[in-house]
Homo-oligomer: 335 residues x 3
């Protein structure tokens, strides 16, 4: 996942994904393009001023090499003949669920791989707040972090953590066929942390469900269900007396040691309440920045470790380890 759709417009916009600098812009008819952010001539970034768009072309700010939306060069300085090889690599793009996805691997494989979905982010009946925080740590540290929410108790106390989170055992299910890792923690009677108390108005203790789904390469969704103690879904699956929040992360490697930490919080209640939106945006951003601070420390620590350092895993790590394995398999080219 490379960007929120709202980030891409009629200015050249660059983001590095898996070490590749990619230029994004919208054509006059609103289509998102993705191409290499390096002019073929001397590798000047097409996102760097004075580079700029002219109609459906982008003009390099150094010598004026000009490219169309298909990456093909259409003008060079001082001569009319354009070299046959003057074209930028382009990337398959899908805009969906408010996200812009690009395919970094062999473009011929792109069509065979489904793009993970997060429909709540762009669906009637839901309201979403979202953002992105740069993380100076390898992506796997954020995968670990999010797949094991027991850390909420320690790192996010006063926001989303309560003692019950770390104390309640989890169940983990790895669905290799569907390519999804599930981690579930169901708390029948727990304290209600401020994040949910202030947004829902619940004043007492709660039944709190955390159902995580991770879909490689990078989409994480926490289906969060909060209700007064004892309130359960109806037999037919309807659940009118609970509050539902979809906490979505896209964990996109920027380089081997830095990550784009995209986050979104969608809710099915208080849909038009700006105060609730402001509160959830501010709270979730604070929680994300607590993770960012801790993981940035961890990245510096790991960089300084000698090769072959050990980590020790316990039950809570099962989901994170499964997710790492699925990503590795995908990166190695397995279907």
């Amino acid at each position: 996942m490379a960007a929120f759709g709202r980030e891409v417009g009629r200015e050249p916009f660059s983001r590095t994904v898996c070490g590749e600098s990619i230029l994004f812009w919208r054509t006059g008819d609103g289509r998102v393009t993705a191409m290499s952010d390096r002019c073929v001539h001397r590798r000047f970034p097409l996102s760097e001023p004075p580079s700029h768009l002219v109609g459906d072309t982008v003009v390099c700010g150094y010598h004026g090499f000009t490219y169309g939306a298909d990456g093909v060069c259409v003008a060079v300085p001082g001569q009319t003949r354009i070299p046959r090889t003057a074209r930028l690599r382009t990337y398959p793009v899908v805009e969906q669920d408010s996200f812009v996805w690009v395919f970094i691997g062999d473009p011929h494989s792109a069509a065979t791989l489904p793009v993970p979905r997060a429909p709540w982010l762009d669906m009637a009946g839901w309201t979403t707040v979202s953002g992105m925080e740069p993380l100076a740590a390898r992506a796997s540290l954020l995968v670990d972090n999010l797949m094991d929410l027991s850390h909420e108790t320690y790192l996010h106390g006063g926001y989303i953590g309560t003692p019950e989170v770390a104390d309640t055992p989890i169940t983990t299910e790895v669905d290799d066929a569907a390519g999804v890792v599930h981690v579930s923690r169901r708390m029948a009677d727990a304290a209600c942390p401020p994040f949910y108390a202030k947004s829902t108005g619940i004043t007492g203790r709660i039944t709190r469900w955390q159902d995580i789904e991770f879909t490689p390469p990078c989409l994480y969704t926490l289906h969060s269900r909060v209700a007064p103690v004892g309130v359960l879904p109806n037999a037919d699956g309807t659940d009118p007396d609970a509050f539902h929040v979809e906490v979505v992360y896209a964990i996109t490697p920027e380089t081997e040691s830095s990550t784009h930490d995209f986050w979104a919080v969608a809710r099915d209640f208080a849909l038009d309440d700006e105060q609730v939106s402001d509160f959830l945006r501010e709270s979730n951003r604070t929680v994300v920045l607590q993770d960012v601070a801790a993981l940035n420390v961890l990245e510096r620590v790991l960089t300084g470790e000698p090769d072959g350092y050990q980590e020790l895993s316990i039950n809570i790590d099962t989901g994170g380890l499964a997710a790492r394995k699925m990503i590795a398999r995908l990166a190695a080219g397995a279907p």
Copy 2:
């Protein structure tokens, strides 16, 4: 080219050239000396306070090792015997055309190589403004930049660039015998950019000649001729109705990835007009800083590229490629 003569005086002054830290100072009778900026004892820099000059010697600020203008150690602490090997490497120096040149290679080869000339910078009938900007990029990027002025149109619009520069084809001539690369662009009828309009007072369109000479290892001169449209030199070579500007650069590697970007602008008109001097100094510095910003970006880009990345060259690059080749040949020891 290591320094402007005005930079070297009776304070130890250090500059790194091709990775070597060189100490410059003037003896009592005004001669420039160039020697290693590292005390032979524990390698403390002789340019670092409290190191200082005493008469025609330099005293190390750490333990007081003292050296003459010939680099030979004349005093050490706590003993009268001075080790025979206690001497600093010295460098052949030539001060000429307001520049201080040093020879970095085998000193025995120094005498066989002519020092490139830029006489306008220190000659009656000309007025010069000059400066140096540090560039965080390899020297070859600045060679490329200056040998191909089509970038003026894009990077320096509003200062020295107009559409005609990028549009007008160039002629390139490589004189291997003389060791000079010539690139020439003659615009018969072009817009007059502010740099020339404000300094010469010309109000209409101009005939604009750009005749470049590059002499390895690092001297670049743009012979710039500007006159109202149609005004040409006389048959005898005199040219009283044109304005002549010599734009000189010395492109000196500091390290493999940083460069001293020395620049000077000499003119044969408005010789005593301080306002014109101030305007040209400020304008050219702005243009140099535009190049510095772009090339610093480019250096970071290239550092991040995988080995074997491609660049694509067209006609405008002929001069830069020839200059690179001449420098490489010289560095490899060819005459």
Copy 3:
């Protein structure tokens, strides 16, 4: 030497020694513990908030792994079974002379090696000021610096340096049996630098003795004796008319290229005079920072030198070279 005893209390405190991040804290009964500052789970630093002490345990701020003073893990989240291998490396510790010492090598060798002593720092009849300055240079540069005080004349003029220091020859004695290097400089008639003039009240010239002892791996003591010219110790060794200052340094490598520069100045006069204490603290800190500035420059210089660069040693360097050799022998495992 890892810390002053006063630095270690009931907050987790971390310091890197020889590249190892070590966590220090005091148990409820005041004992100093030293253990690895990396949680065995995902290597989060136990010194990093929100990690914290609970009684005689330290709780990891990321997921709550909890360790006793012996480094053994006593609690993990979400399960009651604690993995057998969940324990932190601990380090032998000695608290003595106001210093906290740790043993970094094979713990079985710790008992066979005596801990160097600096009794004046924590002894009746003496008053001490002390501090630590971080040095961005390899420890051997500080060893060199302190073993050869001729640099006082150049680098510390106006504080502790006078011309006599650099001019007076030294005697060096290497006692391999005791594992001590002695360097001695006895000035019979010298100017009194401000450091001693203002603290002792002596107004004229002085007899100044500098007797250095270096005990590997890192303890340096300068026994400094200052008295009016001609005043010598009595035949029985008593010395009532002189002023004695013990200038102690512990030179502890943080990494290969950075050092903890611990310093202390103990005196046997003006014991309760806060003004003298303030003056000596401020003066010695200034002198230490002059060394730090010079050695930081030198480290950057040496990092940039090609392999196999030369240094040139003279008489004054004998002590430093002997100290380097003793440290190297100890590091190689010799007794």
